[in-house]
């Protein structure tokens, strides 16, 4: 297995290198980290909808659309990327996606454990410490290859991550920031500043190479050759431009920010005949949490909305229709022009 371990690279090359290796059909492990920060969105996302592009432009933070799955992330040099490129016919590749993730996240879990962090695999594609995510991942098929990427998170700029996302207001941004801090951890947070300093980029990359080597066989260190550089340049022309970035992505009603598997911050609005309904809540392991309902509709008695909020708290999201039926049938509540279907427009997840 070829090993590319150039350490810090220009921001765009930290993405283009694995696209290029896959396009060339070269099996490899690439260990890179960006010299400067940028935002990276998943293939299916709509840049305009996901990212505060004005803020990024004003602050010289580039935005890149990768040809892989997963969501928008703020990436910088405190994150060490692993990028695994395997040909589709490689017998090491499990057919089941869950088995694939479990198998190829094990080297990362082993690295974390070796440095004293009790990381575990959480299906389908997360590495966690207790309940906190400590590695981001994305995967997909490029050319004749399967590409799996992720990171070791040495430190994370929570504030910038929350800042670069496009959200309707600062209240939601604060919520995203808070939920990120609660649900995403780093080597520095887990080990403490002093202990974490023992593990520099080179030693962590060395551990990753060693652990992936146990799965993939001996690693053969390589430098970028002319063919690879030419492919990177070719892809730069195709992928580092406005047209590629602004291609049509998935349009979604409202705003969901996935924090880790099982946790997301949701903001939804719905114009019902009786007025506008706004719902802000978290979904934690398929249950409502921190529910806030508001809008410009009429509700009698006024405190009924508080009853609905507390009624939803902690309940499975799939029970929302039943809870709403109970809400209206068990109490004398009036919300003219707003019915169960309208509430479901903002509570269906």
């Amino acid at each position: 297995m070829k090993l590319y371990n150039p350490g810090k690279v220009p921001w765009d090359e930290s993405q283009l290198i694995y696209h290029a290796l896959a396009a060339l059909g070269r099996e490899a492990l690439s260990l890179v980290s960006p010299a400067t920060p940028y935002v990276c969105i998943g293939f299916h996302q709509d840049a305009e909808q996901e990212v505060d592009l004005d803020y990024c432009r004003a602050n010289h933070i580039p935005v890149f659309r990768r040809d892989l799955g997963g969501g928008a992330v703020y990436l910088d040099g405190e994150q060490l990327f692993f990028q695994l490129i395997l040909r589709k016919d490689n017998p090491l590749i499990p057919k089941k996606k869950g088995t694939f993730y479990k198998k190829f996240l094990q080297p990362i879990i082993n690295v974390y454990r070796q440095i004293g962090i009790a990381a575990e695999y959480k299906p389908v594609n997360d590495v966690i410490v207790e309940t906190r995510k400590i590695s981001g991942t994305g995967a997909g098929e490029i050319g004749d290859c399967i590409v799996f990427v992720g990171n070791l998170i040495v430190d994370f700029n929570y504030k910038m991550m929350a800042r670069v996302l496009k959200v309707p207001d600062e209240k939601l941004r604060d919520k995203v920031h808070k939920t990120l801090r609660e649900n995403l951890s780093t080597i520095r947070r887990e080990l403490g500043e002093k202990e974490a300093k023992q593990w520099d980029e080179s030693s962590l990359n060395g551990l990753m190479a060693k652990e992936f080597g146990k799965l993939l066989g001996p690693m053969e260190p390589c430098e970028k050759d002319q063919e690879l550089q030419a492919k990177i340049d070719d892809l730069r022309a195709r992928m580092v431009n406005e047209e590629w970035l602004h291609q049509k992505g998935k349009r979604v009603a409202g705003r969901d920010v996935k924090i880790r598997a099982g946790v997301k911050v949701v903001h939804k609005m719905h114009k019902a005949p009786g007025g506008l309904i706004r719902a802000d809540y978290e979904v934690r392991e398929k249950r409502f949490s921190d529910v806030c309902l508001s809008g410009d509709f009429f509700c009698f008695p006024e405190e009924a909305i508080k009853w609905l909020e507390s009624g939803l708290e902690g309940r499975p999201t799939e029970e929302a229709p039943d809870l709403l039926k109970e809400f209206y049938s068990e109490r004398d509540i009036e919300t003219p022009g707003i019915g169960i279907d309208d509430w479901m427009m903002v509570l269906k997840v």
Partner: protein, 140 residues
């Protein structure tokens, strides 16, 4: 026909990557089969290319995503894209809810309709194929 827990209707034709095809007038309708949607889990995105896109048998013409995995959709026949299921743009989970009905994905104007005969079809052939895939997945 039910093969273990998977619903694989007899009347459909199947492409080896687990997409079904059926005739509808001059067009072919295409979607993901039950085996694939169960294996994929929650589908979060289906690319809906522009109508008129040329399709080449066995070549990728769209992408779809589940579990952070961006996969490919291959053309089951030669032809061109006649229609896409616009509802999947906002609700790709329809494929999980009703893969043979509301979760249909594309309508294709085939260059030669008889190419559908090259797909997997008929109770015996479908059963043999699905059981073989079930075994491959079970070995992991």
């Amino acid at each position: 026909m039910k093969i273990e827990q998977y619903n694989m209707p007899d009347e459909l034709h199947y492409e080896e990557n687990h997409f079904w095809v059926k005739e509808e007038g001059d067009l072919l309708v295409m979607g993901m089969d039950d085996f694939a949607q169960i294996m994929a889990g929650e589908i979060v995105y289906v690319q809906l290319p522009d109508e008129g896109k040329k399709l080449k048998l066995g070549k990728k013409f769209a992408k779809m995503e589940s579990g952070k995995w961006l996969g490919k959709v291959f053309a089951p026949v030669n032809g061109e894209l006649a229609e896409v299921n616009e509802e999947l743009e906002t609700n790709p989970g329809l494929i999980n809810d009703d893969c043979y009905g509301k979760g249909w994905m594309y309508k294709i104007k085939p260059a030669d309709k008889s190419e559908i005969e090259n797909l997997i079809h008929g109770q015996d052939a479908v059963e043999k194929w699905v059981l073989a895939d079930i075994e491959k997945y079970a070995q992991e």
